[in-house]
Structures are given as C-alpha cells and as structure tokens.
Amino acid sequence: MDYDALFHRLHPALYRYLYRLTGDADTADDIAQETFVRLLRQSMPESEVRPWLFTVATNLVRDGVRKAGRRQRLLAAERFMPASVPRPDEMADRAEQVELVRRALAQIPLRDRQLLLMREEGFTYEEMARAAGVAPGSVGTLLGRALRRFAQVYQAQDGRAQEGTDGTRG
C-alpha cells in the first residue's frame, strides 16, 4: 500500500466525517490520526482501506462515548439541549445555525448517525452494514428512519427558535 498517497487522499474525508459525527474538532483530529496509526499495522487491498478506516474511526468514537472521561467532549444529546429559547437577535447568527445542526444531529443515536454520514460519503449499503454491524437488508430502513428523525428534530428546533424570534409559532 502507498500509505502516503492513502493518507493524502483519505484523511480529509475521514476528518470531515469525524467532525460531523462528534461535533468536536480536537476529537476528530485525534481519532483520525489514531485511525491512520492503526492502519500502519494492517495489510489489505487498497479497495478495502476506506471502509476499514471509517469503521475503525467510528469504533473509536463509540469507545470514547463509553468512557466517562471523554463523554463531555463528544456529541451528546443532553449537552446541546438549550436551557432556554435562543435570544431573537442570535437567530441571524451563523453560529446559531451551526448549533441548530449540531443539536439535531445529537438527537440521532450514534449508529444511525454513522449510517447517515457514511451515506453522505458515498459508501454502499454493504459497506455501511459491515461498518455498523447490521444486516445489509436493514440499512435502507435504518437510514430512512434516521433521516425522518433528523428532519423532524431540526424543524422542531428551528420552529422553537422562530417562535423566540417573533413571538409566534413559525
């Protein structure tokens, strides 16, 4: 394997995936690098590297979620539940949009989030099934449920924000 070429080609996408999955740049950095470190001990056809990387990286995220010390750094639903409706003047802020997306993603269980994000990266259902440890025939159903959940949560939070903006339900 040409490790150098693989790194240059795959690291940006892996980092992007991990950042989307965890919402934390430091975590994404650490796990992406740790994943490539582990790849160095492997030998496999190049065609298998990309799904392997994403699988291992997601397992590392999952391991991190389980560890109490990392829990506060990873995307967790309770972390992003607002204590109050955002101030109206914040809603035009792009940072608030980002937070809205993060909150919506946080409502999706990690496995379903993994499937959604791997789909965005163009993986096949077979690859996603192996990575997530589910039956290939169930991937479509899990994706559909996760997409609907995301849309529902996003629109609900966006609606709450709009309500805060103008005092009426948006």
């Binding site: 394997m1 040409d2 490790y3 150098d4 070429a5 790194f7 240059h8 080609r9 690291h11 940006p12 980092y15 992007r16 950042y19 989307r20 919402g23 740049a25 994404a28 950095d29 992406a32 690098q33 490539f36 470190v37 160095l40 001990r41 792009r94 940072a95 949009q97 980002v98 997306v101 993060r102 919506a104 993603l105 959604l116 994000l117 789909r119 965005e120 096949t124 259902y125 025939g137 169930s138 991937v139 479509g140 159903t141 994706l143 559909g144 449920r145 997409l147 609907r148 995301f150 849309a151 996003y154």
Partner: protein, 255 residues
Amino acid sequence: MEHAGDGQLLALMDGQLSAAEEAAVRSHLRSCPACAQELDALREASALLSASLRVLDAAAPAPKPVVRLVVRAGGARVAAVRRTLLRAAGIVLVLAGGGAAALPGSPVREWARAAWERGKALFGGAEPAATVQTPAAAASIGIDAAPVAGRIRVSLVAMRAGTQVRVRLVDRPVAWIEAEQIVGAAPQFVRGSGRVEVVGGVVRRLRIDLPRDVARAEVEVDGRVRVRKDGEVLRLATAGREEDSGPQAEFVIGD
C-alpha cells in the same frame, strides 16, 4: 406489491436496488401516490441533511498541522523499526538525537508522522529483526497544507542562509513542505488558511511540493517571492528577474 417501505425507497434513491427490484418499485410508485409522497419526503429530508452538513463543515476548523518526523531507516531494519515504534519507549530510543527533544507532540504522534511520511522506506523490508537499530541519517520534519480558494503560499522566515530549497509541482491535492537534514534547531511550522510559514531552524535542505492543479502558488523568502507557479511551470526570481524553471525550481537562501 404492498406499499414500499423506507428501506426500498432509500435504496431506490441511492441506487442500491437490483434492476428487477428497481423496476418493481418504480412501477409501484407510478400507481401509488402515498408512496410517491413518502419518497418526496425522504428526498427533502436527505436534502435538508446535506445542506445542514455543509453549514457544519463551513464552521469546521482545519485539521491540525501534521508534523511529520521522517526516520530514514535502512531497508533491512524497516520492519523492526515499525514494530518497536509501536511502543513509546521504542520511539524515544529510535528518535534519540538532537532533533527529537525539540519536536512537538506525543511520542506516538511523532512515530505516526514518521511512518506516514516515508511509508515505503519503513514498510518495504524483510521480516522483523530481533532488535531495533538506530537510524543512521538525521531526522526530518514536514507538514502538509491544503490550498484555499485555489491558492497556496509558503513563506520562509528567518531561515539560515545557505539552506537549499527545492520546489516541485506534484500530482497531489495538498502541498508538502519538508525540512530535510536538520542539523540544529528544528524549524517551526505555522499553518494558516492556504499558507504555511517555516520559521527559523538550521536545516541543510527544504523540500516544497506544490499541487500541480492549484491556480496560484508562491514561495517567498522573508517577504520576497522567489518562486511562483505560472500555469504548468514554476518561475524562479533571481537577481531581480524571473526565469522559467519548468516543473522544478531550486535556489539557495541568501543567494
């Protein structure tokens, strides 16, 4: 056919059905407004997710600088170096030398960079030997940088006069800057948006690989452009004039 479930509809959207399955689902959709409506809802949800992720991506910081340590080991000792570098103590042993203590990051990270930078040199050898041998050559360090808005700039600041600089156009999407043969203090790398600064250090040679496909690329020394990309070639500034240098340009700092 019964109503199509989310699984079938998603698989249809994503091209994951066989030809026969796809034909069956499409046939059903033509005669079932309810399922067609569900498909539209899933498409909207998918589009919402994609757009949301782009918002998230726009706020994402760039990955941290990848400081890479190159350990130039002999071919026969390659696999032995790899195995021992898995342990932090081994890393310290192998990297013992003037540059190692000055390098930032954990030992594991330094090892990872070493392995990544010269994978072929480290992993092309024979079966692991019983012991680890210290590499003979001095260490190098490097950093990569992605162009931003079609531009990449490499700035060399306060580098020692006499440092040889080689700039090449390469078929890679990111730039690579490597300080080879560090003979004293290691240079500092500072990465910004579409640019890298290499500051100070005492090195014999600096290698700069620029993406061939980037629209604009420059290498400057203490604020003065020495090499710039012009189409498919590099132009080298020497004694107040520019010369066409082809896909590779070389100069010496201070000349």
